[in-house]
């Protein structure tokens, strides 16, 4: 502990470390490509053979529509010539790498007979397109697109997927209008009843990816953790077998379920051993949750960048804040709560503040894209070129709780499989159509439908 320095100093060192890391991307990633050679696959690979990555980034409470949407292109002409909108202005330097997608709806988040609870629904259905069961205890959602992709391509990397959030504290009861809090704090779901709880502590994310301890010690610590895990598994496996022998046959099913689960975990450990030593980014481990929100979000984006750069995973989701989040943004002069403000009653002053928050979130995102754009991948293209990143919210107009015309930006070229640099109005198509088309590009086979999808989304 350094004198009188709560958290801040170490982070600066950490960021410097990332700078170093960025200086040698090609070499680092070459090694990752070699590692891949053990597992030849068509999955999550670009046309040039580089890794293809996808991320889903969620910002809360929608965006002021008038300030988010670019004016329609003149006479429906060239989609490339649109004028960037006020809220998206921070993305101007990257406009050739992004697509602004209009006309995508998520009807499964509409109230219908379920009444209130649009924040829970917007959040909990964003990546699933499946209606939520309105219940505080009996959770029923859907499988999210990131998990569908991860199930297909996850074997190519050390981690099948990565789930992160910058909401460090989560409520566990009394959330939105009788919906379980799980809906509001998770966007990623591995099954209808199983949220993939996102990790909020940057330190834990880092240690999970690269191991604990100082640079150089991390692989040892990962190996030790694996061994500990294995010794626990060995022990319980023998307990289970001995119990299996003693139990009457009618009970053996129960133990069978247990044994199956253990084998699953063993397989995962074997897999991580197969990949050999994790790449050590050789920078200092982040200390924990930084003391300001801005640093927190930047650091989390940095970790996502590192995970992609080291090819630790190709699928990620990041919940910047849960929908309904009411934090204040005093660092940009806004002390009211975000959610409070979104119900602006058409007061100009309030609308302006919400718009500033929307834009601030976009600025953070553009910083992340910028880093990806500057990092070179194995094929000489940028990491951004070889990525496919959704930035969006499950509410369109936070004031009216609408879920049509959701604010969605799709960044990256997917290694040439996307045509960014445009503003395209898809005119009332399910958002899940877009996901289906993304899954195709990631190499997911035979996915006929997803959520409430009606078709693939053309013109991407």
């Amino acid at each position: 502990m350094t004198k009188r320095t709560p958290m801040g100093m170490k982070r600066r060192q950490f960021l410097r470390g990332i700078g170093v890391c960025m200086a040698l991307p090609a070499l680092e990633s070459m090694q990752s490509a070699k590692a891949l050679a053990f597992h030849p696959t068509e999955l999550a690979i670009t046309a040039s053979g580089a890794p293809l990555r996808t991320a889903f980034i969620y910002f809360p409470n929608g965006a002021i529509p008038a300030a988010w949407w670019p004016a329609a292109t003149a006479g429906g002409g060239d989609a490339k010539s649109y004028a960037i909108s006020q809220t998206l202005k921070p993305l101007e330097p990257l406009r050739d790498s992004i697509q602004v997608l209009k006309g995508l709806d998520n009807l499964s988040a509409d109230g219908g007979r379920d009444g209130g609870g649009d924040h829970a629904r917007g959040n909990g259905t964003f990546l699933t397109g499946v209606r939520l069961k309105k219940s505080a205890s009996d959770i029923q959602a859907g499988v999210s697109i990131d998990q569908v992709i991860a199930k297909s391509v996850g074997d190519s990397t050390r981690f099948a997927s990565l789930e992160m959030t910058c909401d460090s504290k989560r409520q566990t009861s009394g959330c939105d209008s009788g919906y379980s809090c799980a809906y509001q704090y998770n966007i990623s779901w591995s099954s209808a009843t199983t949220p993939m709880s996102p990790e909020s502590n940057p330190r834990s994310i880092f240690e999970r990816l690269f191991g604990a301890g100082n640079p150089g010690e991390r692989n040892d610590s990962l190996a030790r953790r694996r061994n500990e895990q294995k010794s626990v598994l060995d022990f319980v496996l023998e307990d289970a077998r001995s119990m299996q022998r003693r139990l009457p046959s009618s009970d053996r099913d129960k133990l069978g379920q247990y044994l199956d689960g253990i084998r699953d975990i063993e397989k995962r450990i074997e897999k991580s051993e197969r990949f050999g030593a994790a790449k050590d980014p050789e920078i200092e481990t982040p200390a924990g949750v930084p003391d300001t929100y801005e640093k927190y979000i930047q650091l989390t984006y940095d970790l996502l960048f590192l995970a992609f750069q080291t090819d630790s995973t190709r699928v990620a989701s990041l919940l910047l804040a849960h929908d309904g989040s009411n934090r204040s943004f005093d660092h940009i002069g806004i002390v009211e709560g975000h959610h409070d403000l979104t119900h602006h009653q058409n007061k100009v002053e309030q609308i302006k503040k919400v718009q500033e928050i929307d834009q601030w979130y976009v600025r953070m995102f553009s910083g992340f894209l910028d880093k990806l754009a500057r990092a070179e991948d194995v094929d000489g293209k940028s990491l951004l070129y070889n990525s496919m990143i959704i930035y969006g919210s499950g509410n369109a107009d936070g004031n009216r709780h609408t879920h049509s015309d959701l604010p969605i930006v799709l960044a990256g070229n997917a290694g040439g499989a996307l045509t960014p640099g445009r503003f395209v109005d898809h005119r009332s198509k399910p958002l899940t159509n877009l996901y289906l088309s993304m899954a195709d590009r990631m190499g997911v086979q035979d996915l006929k439908r997803f959520g409430d999808s009606t078709d693939r989304l053309g013109d991407l």
Binding site: S137, S190, T193, S231, V236, P248, Y258, D264, N346
Partner: protein
């Protein structure tokens, strides 16, 4: 879905028989054996039942002349017949039924010939090996390691079967759950078990120990003046904002609006480096749509050193933790917080305040100062020895004790050896401590199926009956039944001595008097009567209130839609509203004003819900602990209430009822309340979000109180909401709607039973509050039971149940409790046990303890149907 007569789950099977039945009828009967059926039983059936249940007639899906093979091969069908005969519910009112002799004869034939019950060797049935459910896991961890692990947040919810969440067959282990078990094991052991022998000393000073001083200086005066000029803040519904909550004496609370100092002098024994941890919360009272722009500066000093100097705006109840590294001399030190308001002219809306939870002093740093960590002696009673062999021996001792408790039975040496080796593999390399090795082995124990599942052992019955479960298993059955947790020391000890079975009744008494028995009332009663659900059931009190308001404009009664629509319109820019929309908005707003929040009566809030839940649990507890008649559950002249609930029910204030505590009170003369059926729990959990549901209420009583299950409705039936609610241009009451519903013969056979029961409770709305009118019309509650008793009030209905149907209530309760105790659904083989329990209850004059003692002493609870060979193979 749970039915007291366990009939409905066999319905599908029965309807399948009928397809082939006619062809096969009679073909499997062998001469001699069937004589009794043909000569004695069948004639009774022909005379009394065949009119509706033979020759193609299949009322209630029961046909008594269509059997595949031997009639005695259909126990599930005969089970239904038995229940009907037992409760005298068949034949229906007005039709001649069997004589008492015929009834007894048929019932005993079913028991002896169909169920083949052998009184000398009763069949205890088999319980599948049971996994701990979320609640049991949490309680077990609490008792084993003193850690409260939030399983609701960390584990997926458990499936339920037969109405309970402890049913072995449906408690599965998914790969995900297994992963959660392993990470839970790690997290729990991390939290509980120290992995080093020494840590820096740690002293936590609660915020409340700071001496708070609000400066009465110029600034404060100015603030007071400004405050008096403030308009009373209010939210957009015009409700006044609550004042700030009372300060918690354990915390130091400082308002953003007051110049405040919090001081404390503390003594430090040794000079050295210390870490100081400041734990804060920035709190506010939420107010809809009015913001609070106040700011303040917070400083924190240790002596003259300024450690915090930071401006705060509202933070939305965020927790903050800051740590500083400083050097301190031995002696006294002053710790000073100061809050300086920086926005004196801002109105105070949300009572922004900084709360110091505590200041923790960690140090001095250095090996010389290390102290044993919290709880060290609990896990490591002796200093860790140096030599390998002594360490091994110590590890064996520690782990042997732990694993015995965790597996709830003595554990073989081989297992303990494996645990010791596991620990050694961790600490043996010299990089990790001895303690971390032990912790690692403890993690393995908590992840083992022998901890997660309740494995049982058996001992042969010397008299040739089915084997007993051994004493350790019995201890475990008892403790999970009555406490939802692992056995305590006394149960272990009795099991070890082999004395548990002989001390059963006194142990049950002891356990019921232990605080842990609250789990029984929460979980058994909470699920049997669904009172656990009252805390989460969705009911819109506005919609309920609107049904009871006299002048109801021609508007949709489902309020959510209204509200959403109004908000939608109100938030639309005025320039975009069409004329029609403007008119609609005005109408909606007027309506809300007239029937908005102020007319809803008391809030159906968390406090009321919690009080309702404990009202139900406490009544059952009271009846059981004082060994009162079980019929008190149905009808009694007392209740458990607190001030809030009494007000909610509008029971004339009883003097003793002040405050939050639930108290036993005598109800006023003539009160409709008393008993579970007039409690908020039953009345609310059986309601729809916007209205009562007499059908659900009737069904609940049939299934959970009278044990007379109803077949599921045929498919493709429109819901009540879709059925016509308008006739001759006027809106119909629920009673009228239901009456139309019953005109249909398909509906009437069941609804004639359900509806009158449910309609009797119409004086209680969906929130459980009393009312006399709905939509301006006086409510009529009169009706008749399917057994013929007429009633004109809910009091008379309760009396009819107590006077004429108590045996049905006993059977129902016995079955529910047995299901919960065993963790399995019952079948026809369990009838004799239920008969014995009900007999015991009747002999005791209907007392409650007879029920509990009856369940615990049943062969079902004490024994198992299993090959004795397993008993000996259990010990490795």
């Amino acid at each position: 879905m749970m039915n007291c007569g366990y009939a409905s789950r066999n319905l599908t099977a029965i309807s399948c028989f009928s397809l082939v039945a006619a062809v096969c009828f009679g073909s499997g009967l062998r001469a001699g054996e069937t004589d009794k059926y043909e000569t004695q039983i069948r004639p009774i059936l022909v005379e009394n039942c065949y009119g509706c249940h033979a020759g193609g007639e299949k009322n209630g899906n029961i046909a008594l002349d269509e059997f595949e093979g031997d009639v005695r091969q259909s126990p599930a069908l005969w089970q239904k017949v038995l229940v009907q005969l037992r409760s005298r519910s068949m034949p229906p009112l007005g039709e001649a039924g069997p004589s008492e002799d015929q009834r007894t004869l048929t019932m005993s034939w079913i028991k002896s010939d169909v169920f083949k019950h052998d009184p000398t060797r009763p069949d205890p049935g088999v319980v599948t090996v049971r996994r701990l459910n979320r609640i049991e896991y949490r309680n077990t961890i609490r008792d084993l390691l003193g850690v409260d692990y939030d399983t609701n947040a960390n584990f997926p919810s458990d499936d339920t079967g037969y109405g309970f969440d402890n049913i072995a067959d449906v408690l599965t282990v998914s790969p995900l759950l297994l992963e959660k078990y392993i990470s839970a094991a790690k997290a729990i052991v991390n939290q509980a078990v120290p992995i080093v022998s020494g840590v820096a000393p740690r002293r936590t000073i609660p915020g409340g120990e700071f001496i708070k001083e609000v400066k009465n200086d110029g600034l404060a005066k100015l603030l007071n003046e400004l405050a008096s000029k403030d308009e009373t803040p209010g939210n957009r519904f015009g409700r006044p904002v609550q004042g700030p909550p009372k300060d918690d004496p354990m915390l130091l609370t400082m308002s953003y609006k007051e110049h405040t100092i919090g001081k404390l002098t503390t003594n430090v024994n040794s000079e050295g480096r210390y870490a100081i941890e400041v734990n804060l919360k920035a709190a506010e009272q939420f107010v809809d749509n009015i913001f609070d722009y106040n700011r303040c500066t917070l400083t924190f000093r240790v002596d003259d050193e300024l450690l915090v100097n930071r401006e705060f705006v509202r933070q939305g109840n965020e927790d903050l933790s800051m740590t500083f590294d400083i050097r301190m001399e031995a002696g006294d030190h002053n710790l000073v917080f100061e809050v300086i308001p920086t926005t004196p002219d801002q109105p105070q809306v949300r009572y922004l305040r900084l709360i110091v939870k505590n200041v923790t002093l960690i140090g001095p740093a250095g090996d010389a100062y290390l102290v044993p960590p919290l709880n060290y002696a609990r896990y490591f009673p002796k200093p860790v020895p140096k030599s390998t062999s002594e360490r091994r021996e110590y590890a064996g001792e520690l782990l042997g004790q732990f694993v015995t408790k965790a597996y709830r039975r003595p554990v073989d040496n081989k297992t303990i050896d494996r645990l010791v080796s596991l620990a050694e593999s961790v600490y043996g390399n010299g990089k990790e401590t001895f303690e971390s090795g032990i912790a690692q082995s403890m993690t393995a124990v908590l992840a083992s199926p022998r901890f997660l599942f309740r494995e049982e052992g058996f001992v042969p019955d010397a008299d040739g009956g089915h084997p007993w479960v051994d004493d350790y298993s019995l201890a475990t059955r008892l403790s999970y039944f009555l406490w939802s947790t692992m056995p305590d020391q006394e149960l272990f000890q009795l099991a070890a001595q082999g004395d548990l079975r002989t001390n059963l009744d006194s142990q049950v008494d002891r356990m019921m008097n232990d605080a842990r028995s609250s789990a029984f009332f929460q979980n058994f009663v909470g699920q049997w009567l669904q009172s656990r659900e009252v805390e989460s059931v969705t009911i819109d009190s506005g919609a309920v209130a609107r049904r009871e308001s006299e002048a109801r404009p021609g508007m949709n009664a489902t309020s959510d839609v209204d509200l959403e629509r109004r908000n939608f319109l109100r938030n639309k820019p005025a320039s975009e509203l069409t004329d029609a929309e403007k008119l609609e908005l005005e109408k909606l707003q007027n309506f809300r004003q007239a029937f908005g929040s102020r007319n809803r009566g008391p809030n159906f809030d968390e406090k009321v819900r919690r009080a309702m839940r404990s009202e139900t649990e406490l009544l059952f507890q009271h009846v059981l602990k004082n060994d009162l008649p079980l019929t008190d559950l149905i009808d009694c002249n007392y209740a458990f209430l607190n001030e809030e609930l009494a007000k909610f029910y509008e029971i004339p204030m009883l003097e003793s009822l002040n405050g939050n505590e639930m108290r036993l009170v005598k109800l006023p003369e003539g009160s409709l309340r008393g008993g579970i059926l007039t409690q908020g729990t039953f009345l609310a959990v059986t309601s729809n979000p916007n209205r009562t549901s007499p059908v659900k209420r009737g069904l609940f009583i049939l299934e959970n109180v009278l044990g007379s299950p109803i077949a599921a409705p045929p498919p493709n039936i429109p819901s009540l909401e879709d059925a016509s609610k308008q006739r001759d241009g006027k809106t119909l009451s629920l009673r009228e709607t239901l009456a139309i519903h019953r005109e249909n013969a398909v509906c009437s056979s069941c609804h004639n039973k359900m509806d009158p029961l449910g309609l009797a409770f119409e004086n209680f709305n969906a929130l459980g509050r009393y009312r006399e009118k709905e939509f301006g019309k006086t409510i009529d509650v009169a009706g008749m039971l399917s057994s013929g008793e007429k009633f004109s009030s809910v009091t008379q209905l309760k009396k009819a149940i107590v006077d004429n149907h108590k045996q049905e209530v006993y059977y129902c309760l016995a079955e529910k409790m047995m299901t919960y105790a065993l963790g399995r659904g019952l079948d026809f083989r369990d009838n004799y046990a239920l008969d014995n329990i009900v007999q015991r209850i009747e002999q005791s004059g209907g007392k409650a303890k007879a029920l509990l003692i009856g369940v615990v002493n049943s062969p079902q609870f004490l024994k198992t149907r299993i090959k004795v060979a397993y008993a000996s193979s259990l010990r490795e």
